[in-house]
């Protein structure tokens, strides 16, 4: 069930926030990570803001 939820979110370009938090804690412990909402908006912009937003026919 959790996996299905993750899959559906990734389909629309939203990777898991927890993974991002864990990454920030491990690699950049002194930087302040984005909040959940900031993270959501950042990914939304990344999905459609650049040339990578193309979809198939």
């Amino acid at each position: 069930m959790r996996m299905l939820r993750q899959m559906l979110r990734l389909m629309v370009g939203q990777p898991p926030y927890e993974v991002y938090l864990a990454h920030m804690a491990r690699v950049h412990p002194d930087a302040t990570p984005m909040t959940r909402v900031e993270f959501f908006r950042n990914r939304e912009q990344a999905r459609f803001g650049g040339a990578g937003g193309g979809k198939c026919c």
């Binding site: 993750q6 389909m11 939203q14 959940r36 459609f48 040339a51 193309g54 198939c56 026919c57």
Partner: protein, 681 residues
């Protein structure tokens, strides 16, 4: 011992294919096709994909992927392979695998079925898998950059320009399908129009009210959609609102062009992202439901295995089986556009090299399965209805009586009453000449869904549900494609004028958007005003361009294999490359040079040009102006064919040159990112 179940599966597949191939005249159940396809796909995945992974690519589980060594929690995230499979499948599956097979059904169900099965196993899935592999070994770079890295800057620029043109054609042909499905259909038009305010409301909800709650907002949106479909019936029946939502194809064309420009300039959270949720989830849901529906209903195929149009002269699209079937079914068998996706976000999310076959090869097999379902859908309809829906008005006339007469004369007996009754069942004024594939598929889906749930009274609801599902994700593709095309164009122009690149100021963005919209708008308008229905002209151009991009991707893969010093395995990519080159070069040159005016653009232009000289108006044109427009359009389409031919031939030259150079070296010369090992946990 472990091979025994697979051998049994292979035998099952072979038996099903044999049944399909030898049965003539008697009714064949659609499940034979489904079982044949599924067992072929599973066997191909187990043996061919793993052979490529082990011997051709030599995937290495100890070698870190970009998602590991570049991990940032944002773009580069090691993802569970099942989750990633869903992501990749949702990105590659679109309208292409649904429409192409429906059009191909005019030759009967057999040619399309065989091409989808063998095409995907030997070409389509190999292409997706190879590009994914190449990109994964190079930090997840995009196709244009990969061609540049392995074949040189000139080849890279040519590939990028080719990809942009293909994008333009795809957007035009997709928009044309929406126009054909929604024109003169107030019910369909209302439900699709309702998705815009719905998406705006969802956008505001996810922005300010409950940020990031995709699940909630999608459920609310879905409820809204269903309400729009149900309410659309009253709108269509209303004397006031019905005419307000009834548009001619021309008006719809202008609406779409304006909408495309606006949507690609609005902030993404307001319209694009919420529409993306709706269309993605609806797409996955509808595809799953269709699969379940076909298995539950187990309908018999009513289309013959082969029709008389195998030799050419079919009403939905012109040309003979070779080479035109192989460009009509593009997505589903092999699609060049996937090379852009497989070198997009997916390679940045793969957690281990050994996940690549499941995602690259497997997701494409899944898409081929979608194509098979679309083919089954078109083939369970009465052939009389199929041809009445897919022939141009120039052949059928406009009323059910003339259409029934024309289709019966083709050899597919159908009564005018049946055409009227079918239209009434699905809640439309008419089903005569509803070309483009989407309405045909919607009738088939209504047939299947109403069999499972609701019976005949629900048919109209299911028909409009299917139209909405197709229109919604096509429109999302048009928005997202216009945006992506705009950035591609900015990059391309930026090569010459660096200040044109994205991020410098707003002006280049607006200019590039306008250029992009005008380019696809031009082809859309041409298709809409084409008296032959447009799909007839544009779909082959789309097919040729898409298959040429596939040939380009496979040539890149061949080059990489030579540069890896793996040339003894290069047949894996050389065989599909050669086949695609044969198909696209012959289809492209036929479209250009054939003396048959129904096939060749220049012959058609010459015929109409001569009539203009003589001062006569040829049907289906109605005025001298239309005559001149037809000649002009033919020349533009011919020019496009020349450009596509030039792109593919020049890249073939670069491929051969690079491969020869690689053969002269005694060590690998690929530009892979340096090997980094997976860190021990």
């Amino acid at each position: 011992m472990k091979h025994i179940p697979w051998i049994i599966l292979a035998i099952v597949g072979a038996v099903c294919l044999a049944v399909l191939a030898v049965s003539r005249g008697e009714a064949v159940n659609a499940l034979w096709i489904v079982v044949a396809a599924v067992s072929c796909f599973l066997v191909a995945y187990r043996y061919y994909a793993l052979y490529i992974a082990r011997h051709v690519m030599r995937l290495d589980p100890t070698r870190a992927t970009p998602a590991i060594y570049r991990a940032d929690g944002l773009d580069y995230v090691a993802t569970d392979r099942r989750v990633l499979f869903g992501h990749h499948f949702a990105a590659i599956a679109g309208a292409g695998p649904l429409v192409g097979p429906v059009l191909a059904a005019q030759m009967g169900y057999l040619p399309g079925t065989l091409w989808i099965i063998f095409g995907v196993v030997l070409a389509g899935a190999v292409q997706d898998f190879m590009v994914l592999f190449i990109s994964m070994r190079r930090d997840g770079k995009s196709l244009g950059e990969l061609v540049r890295m392995e074949m040189g800057a000139v080849a890279g620029t040519i590939a990028l320009a080719g990809a942009f043109l293909i994008m333009v054609i795809i957007l035009a042909v997709l928009a044309l399908i929406v126009v054909r499905a929604l024109a003169e259909s107030p019910w369909g038009m209302f439900t699709v129009a309702a998705t815009i305010p719905l998406a705006l409301a969802m956008g505001i909800y996810t922005r300010w009210i409950r940020p990031g709650r995709i699940g909630e907002v999608s459920v609310l949106g879905f409820v809204g959609l269903i309400a729009a479909i149900v309410f659309g019936q009253n709108v269509a029946a209303s004397g006031v609102w019905g005419p307000l939502f009834t548009f001619t194809p021309q008006t719809l064309c202008w609406i779409l062009i304006g909408y495309g420009a606006l949507a690609s300039l609005l902030p993404v959270w307001l319209l694009l992202a919420p529409r993306d949720y709706l269309s993605t989830f609806l797409k996955i849901g509808a595809i799953t439901a269709l699969a379940v529906g076909i298995v539950v209903m187990a309908p018999p195929l009513r289309m013959p295995a082969l029709t008389q149009f195998v030799g050419g002269g079919g009403p939905a699209w012109s040309g003979a089986l070779f080479p035109f079937l192989f460009i009509t079914i593009a997505c589903g068998a092999v699609s060049g556009f996937h090379a852009l996706i497989a070198s997009g976000t997916t390679p940045k999310l793969i957690g281990s090299e050994t996940d690549a076959p499941f995602i690259g090869y497997g997701a494409m097999l899944m898409e081929a399965f979608v194509a098979i379902m679309a083919l089954v859908g078109a083939s369970i309809l009465d052939p009389g209805i199929y041809f009445a829906m897919n022939s141009p008005a120039a052949v059928l006339g406009t009323d059910p009586v003339s259409a029934a007469h024309a289709v019966t004369a083709m050899g597919f007996p159908v009564s005018a009453d049946l055409l009227v009754q079918t239209a009434r069942d699905v809640g439309e004024h008419t089903i005569v000449s509803r070309t483009g594939g989407a309405p045909t598929l919607a009738v088939a889906m209504a047939e299947i869904f109403s069999h499972v749930a609701g019976g005949t009274t629900m048919k109209a609801f299911w028909y409009h549900f299917a139209i909405l599902f197709e229109a919604l994700f096509i429109l999302t593709a048009v928005d997202a494609g216009t945006r992506a095309g705009r950035f591609m164009l900015q990059d391309l122009i930026g090569l010459a004028v660096p200040s044109f690149r994205a991020g410098t100021s707003w002006l280049p963005g607006v200019v590039a958007t306008a250029l992009c919209v005008l380019s696809w708008g031009f082809f859309l308008y041409q298709g809409v005003t084409d008296p032959l229905g447009g799909v007839n002209t544009l779909w082959p151009v789309f097919g040729i361009s898409n298959q040429m991009l596939a040939a380009v991707a496979l040539m890149l893969a061949t080059t990489v294999l030579f540069r890896m010093k793996q040339q003894r395995y290069a047949w894996v990519t050389v065989i599909p490359t050669v086949w695609l080159l044969i198909c696209t070069l012959s289809a492209g040159s036929l479209k250009l040079l054939s003396s048959d005016p129904t096939v060749g653009f220049l012959a058609h232009a010459a015929k109409f040009g001569a009539a203009v000289e003589a001062g006569t108006v040829l049907a289906p044109a109605k005025s001298m102006e239309q005559m001149l427009a037809i000649v002009f359009n033919d020349r533009v389409d011919a020019g496009l064919c020349v450009i596509f031919l030039a792109v593919v031939i020049s890249l073939l030259f670069f491929t051969v040159r690079t491969c020869m150079a690689a053969l002269r070296e005694d060590r690998p010369t690929v530009n892979e990112s340096p090997v980094q090992l997976v860190p021990a946990e």
